[in-house]
Protein backbone atom coordinates (compact mmCIF):
# COMPACT_ATOMS: atom_id res chain seq x y z
CA UNK A 1 0.00 0.00 0.00
CA UNK A 2 1.16 3.53 -0.75
CA UNK A 3 -0.74 4.95 2.19
CA UNK A 4 0.57 8.00 3.92
CA UNK A 5 0.01 7.91 7.63
CA UNK A 6 0.13 11.17 9.51
CA UNK A 7 0.94 11.82 13.09
CA UNK A 8 -0.18 13.18 15.36
CA UNK A 9 -3.84 12.51 14.68
CA UNK A 10 -4.70 15.73 16.46
CA UNK A 11 -2.64 18.75 17.43
CA UNK A 12 -3.65 21.76 19.49
CA UNK A 13 -1.39 24.82 19.70
CA UNK A 14 -1.53 28.49 20.61
CA UNK A 15 -1.63 31.13 17.91
CA UNK A 16 1.87 32.19 16.96
CA UNK A 17 3.42 28.80 17.68
CA UNK A 18 4.74 26.48 14.99
CA UNK A 19 2.86 23.32 14.04
CA UNK A 20 4.66 20.23 12.79
CA UNK A 21 2.88 17.29 11.23
CA UNK A 22 4.54 14.12 10.06
CA UNK A 23 3.71 11.61 7.38
CA UNK A 24 5.11 8.16 6.71
CA UNK A 25 4.53 5.96 3.70
CA UNK A 26 5.48 2.51 2.58
CA UNK A 27 6.77 2.31 -0.98
CA UNK A 28 8.47 4.36 -3.68
CA UNK A 29 6.76 7.56 -4.75
CA UNK A 30 6.94 10.05 -7.58
CA UNK A 31 6.01 12.94 -5.29
CA UNK A 32 4.28 13.71 -2.01
CA UNK A 33 1.63 16.35 -1.57
CA UNK A 34 -0.02 18.07 1.36
CA UNK A 35 -3.64 19.12 1.35
CA UNK A 36 -5.78 21.08 3.75
CA UNK A 37 -9.45 20.52 4.49
CA UNK A 38 -11.64 22.85 6.48
CA UNK A 39 -14.44 21.09 8.31
CA UNK A 40 -17.00 19.73 5.85
CA UNK A 41 -15.29 21.35 2.88
CA UNK A 42 -13.17 20.29 -0.07
CA UNK A 43 -9.47 19.55 -0.22
CA UNK A 44 -7.10 22.37 -1.04
CA UNK A 45 -3.70 21.58 -2.51
CA UNK A 46 -0.97 23.23 -0.43
CA UNK A 47 2.39 22.05 -1.66
CA UNK A 48 4.04 19.28 -3.67
CA UNK A 49 7.53 17.92 -3.16
CA UNK A 50 9.13 15.64 -5.71
CA UNK A 51 11.02 12.50 -4.77
CA UNK A 52 14.36 14.12 -5.71
CA UNK A 53 13.74 17.15 -3.51
CA UNK A 54 14.51 17.34 0.20
CA UNK A 55 12.88 20.58 1.23
CA UNK A 56 10.40 23.05 -0.16
CA UNK A 57 8.96 26.31 1.08
CA UNK A 58 5.76 28.15 0.31
CA UNK A 59 4.95 31.16 2.45
CA UNK A 60 4.65 29.95 6.04
CA UNK A 61 4.79 26.31 4.94
CA UNK A 62 7.92 24.22 4.94
CA UNK A 63 7.89 20.63 3.73
CA UNK A 64 10.70 18.13 4.05
CA UNK A 65 11.02 14.73 2.44
CA UNK A 66 13.31 11.90 3.46
CA UNK A 67 12.94 9.11 0.93
CA UNK A 68 15.36 6.87 2.84
CA UNK A 69 13.04 6.95 5.83
CA UNK A 70 9.90 7.23 3.68
CA UNK A 71 8.72 10.19 5.67
CA UNK A 72 7.76 13.80 5.24
CA UNK A 73 6.96 16.67 7.54
CA UNK A 74 4.86 19.78 7.16
CA UNK A 75 5.78 22.78 9.28
CA UNK A 76 3.45 25.74 9.58
CA UNK A 77 5.25 28.67 11.16
CA UNK A 78 3.62 31.45 13.16
CA UNK A 79 0.27 29.71 13.16
CA UNK A 80 -3.01 31.60 12.99
CA UNK A 81 -6.50 30.69 14.10
CA UNK A 82 -7.41 30.49 10.41
CA UNK A 83 -4.96 27.59 10.02
CA UNK A 84 -7.36 25.41 12.01
CA UNK A 85 -8.18 22.54 9.67
CA UNK A 86 -7.30 18.93 8.88
CA UNK A 87 -4.08 18.37 6.97
CA UNK A 88 -3.53 15.35 4.77
CA UNK A 89 -0.45 14.01 3.11
CA UNK A 90 -0.92 12.17 -0.15
CA UNK A 91 1.56 10.07 -2.06
CA UNK A 92 1.59 10.10 -5.84
CA UNK A 93 2.97 6.82 -7.12
CA UNK A 94 2.67 4.17 -9.74
CA UNK A 95 -0.28 2.03 -8.76
CA UNK A 96 0.86 -1.13 -10.49
CA UNK A 97 -2.22 -1.13 -12.68
CA UNK A 98 -0.80 0.99 -15.46
CA UNK A 99 -1.34 4.43 -13.99
CA UNK A 100 -0.33 6.76 -11.20
CA UNK A 101 -2.54 7.28 -8.22
CA UNK A 102 -2.84 9.78 -5.39
CA UNK A 103 -3.33 8.02 -2.04
CA UNK A 104 -4.24 9.90 1.12
CA UNK A 105 -3.40 9.37 4.76
CA UNK A 106 -5.85 9.76 7.63
CA UNK A 107 -4.91 13.33 8.35
CA UNK A 108 -3.91 15.48 11.28
CA UNK A 109 -6.55 17.70 12.83
CA UNK A 110 -4.91 20.99 13.76
CA UNK A 111 -6.55 23.39 16.19
CA UNK A 112 -4.97 26.81 16.63
CA UNK A 113 -6.22 28.57 19.74
CA UNK A 114 -6.41 32.36 19.53
Amino acid sequence: SQQGEEDPQALSIQEGENATMNCSYKTSINNLQWYRQNSGRGLVHLILIRSNEREKHSGRLRVTLDTSKKSSSLLITASRAADTASYFCATYAYSGAGSYQLTFGKGTKLSVIP
Partner: protein
Protein backbone atom coordinates in the same frame (compact mmCIF):
# COMPACT_ATOMS: atom_id res chain seq x y z
CA UNK B 1 -7.19 29.71 -10.58
CA UNK B 2 -9.36 27.17 -12.43
CA UNK B 3 -12.00 25.49 -10.35
CA UNK B 4 -13.69 22.14 -10.23
CA UNK B 5 -17.41 22.52 -9.67
CA UNK B 6 -19.60 19.87 -8.08
CA UNK B 7 -23.37 19.66 -7.78
CA UNK B 8 -25.37 19.19 -5.70
CA UNK B 9 -23.53 20.22 -2.56
CA UNK B 10 -25.76 17.99 -0.46
CA UNK B 11 -28.10 15.18 -1.42
CA UNK B 12 -30.31 13.06 0.79
CA UNK B 13 -31.65 9.88 -0.72
CA UNK B 14 -33.52 6.79 0.37
CA UNK B 15 -31.71 3.50 0.48
CA UNK B 16 -32.04 1.68 -2.81
CA UNK B 17 -32.48 4.83 -4.87
CA UNK B 18 -30.19 5.89 -7.67
CA UNK B 19 -28.14 9.06 -7.34
CA UNK B 20 -26.10 10.99 -9.86
CA UNK B 21 -23.36 13.28 -8.68
CA UNK B 22 -22.09 15.86 -11.13
CA UNK B 23 -18.74 17.49 -11.68
CA UNK B 24 -17.43 20.05 -14.10
CA UNK B 25 -13.67 19.49 -14.12
CA UNK B 26 -10.99 21.85 -15.33
CA UNK B 27 -11.23 22.11 -19.08
CA UNK B 28 -8.54 20.77 -21.37
CA UNK B 29 -7.62 17.98 -19.00
CA UNK B 30 -8.05 14.36 -19.97
CA UNK B 31 -7.69 12.87 -16.49
CA UNK B 32 -10.49 13.06 -13.93
CA UNK B 33 -10.89 11.39 -10.58
CA UNK B 34 -13.55 10.57 -8.03
CA UNK B 35 -12.72 10.17 -4.36
CA UNK B 36 -14.92 9.67 -1.35
CA UNK B 37 -14.52 10.44 2.34
CA UNK B 38 -16.69 8.78 4.92
CA UNK B 39 -17.20 11.15 7.84
CA UNK B 40 -14.09 11.34 9.97
CA UNK B 41 -12.15 8.90 7.83
CA UNK B 42 -9.52 9.11 5.14
CA UNK B 43 -10.03 10.20 1.56
CA UNK B 44 -10.34 7.08 -0.59
CA UNK B 45 -9.74 6.71 -4.29
CA UNK B 46 -12.73 5.46 -6.28
CA UNK B 47 -11.94 5.76 -9.98
CA UNK B 48 -9.83 7.55 -12.54
CA UNK B 49 -11.12 8.44 -15.96
CA UNK B 50 -8.88 9.11 -18.93
CA UNK B 51 -9.89 10.07 -22.41
CA UNK B 52 -13.49 9.04 -21.86
CA UNK B 53 -12.71 5.65 -20.38
CA UNK B 54 -12.15 4.27 -16.90
CA UNK B 55 -8.40 4.14 -16.37
CA UNK B 56 -8.34 2.54 -12.97
CA UNK B 57 -10.82 1.73 -10.23
CA UNK B 58 -10.57 0.69 -6.61
CA UNK B 59 -12.27 -2.27 -5.00
CA UNK B 60 -14.80 0.17 -3.57
CA UNK B 61 -15.94 0.96 -7.11
CA UNK B 62 -18.14 -2.09 -7.59
CA UNK B 63 -20.95 -2.72 -10.06
CA UNK B 64 -23.19 -0.24 -8.25
CA UNK B 65 -20.97 2.60 -9.44
CA UNK B 66 -20.49 4.01 -12.90
CA UNK B 67 -18.90 7.11 -14.39
CA UNK B 68 -19.74 8.93 -17.57
CA UNK B 69 -18.89 12.04 -19.46
CA UNK B 70 -22.24 12.60 -21.13
CA UNK B 71 -21.60 15.84 -22.97
CA UNK B 72 -17.85 16.38 -23.10
CA UNK B 73 -17.72 18.74 -20.15
CA UNK B 74 -19.77 17.31 -17.30
CA UNK B 75 -18.48 14.25 -15.52
CA UNK B 76 -20.92 12.14 -13.51
CA UNK B 77 -20.72 9.48 -10.84
CA UNK B 78 -23.78 7.29 -10.59
CA UNK B 79 -24.66 4.99 -7.73
CA UNK B 80 -27.39 2.68 -8.91
CA UNK B 81 -28.86 1.38 -5.67
CA UNK B 82 -27.58 3.30 -2.69
CA UNK B 83 -26.75 1.67 0.62
CA UNK B 84 -26.46 3.26 4.03
CA UNK B 85 -22.69 2.82 3.88
CA UNK B 86 -22.52 4.96 0.73
CA UNK B 87 -23.12 8.01 2.92
CA UNK B 88 -19.98 10.10 2.48
CA UNK B 89 -18.50 13.18 0.87
CA UNK B 90 -17.73 12.55 -2.79
CA UNK B 91 -15.01 14.63 -4.41
CA UNK B 92 -14.19 15.11 -8.04
CA UNK B 93 -10.63 16.16 -8.96
CA UNK B 94 -8.63 17.32 -11.95
CA UNK B 95 -4.85 17.47 -12.13
CA UNK B 96 -3.70 21.06 -12.17
CA UNK B 97 -0.68 22.26 -10.31
CA UNK B 98 2.61 20.84 -11.51
CA UNK B 99 0.51 18.37 -13.46
CA UNK B 100 0.54 16.01 -10.51
CA UNK B 101 -1.18 18.25 -7.99
CA UNK B 102 -4.91 17.91 -8.02
CA UNK B 103 -7.62 20.52 -7.79
CA UNK B 104 -10.57 19.15 -5.89
CA UNK B 105 -14.16 20.25 -6.05
CA UNK B 106 -15.93 21.28 -2.87
CA UNK B 107 -17.65 17.92 -2.76
CA UNK B 108 -21.15 16.47 -2.59
CA UNK B 109 -22.31 15.29 0.79
CA UNK B 110 -24.44 12.21 0.18
CA UNK B 111 -26.69 11.03 2.98
CA UNK B 112 -28.48 7.73 2.51
CA UNK B 113 -31.41 7.18 4.88
Amino acid sequence: EPEVTQTPSHQVTQMGQEVILRCVPISNHLYFYWYRQILGQKVEFLVSFYNNEISEKSEIFDDQFSVERPDGSNFTLKIRSTKLEDSAMYFCASPYRDIYGYTFGSGTRLTVV
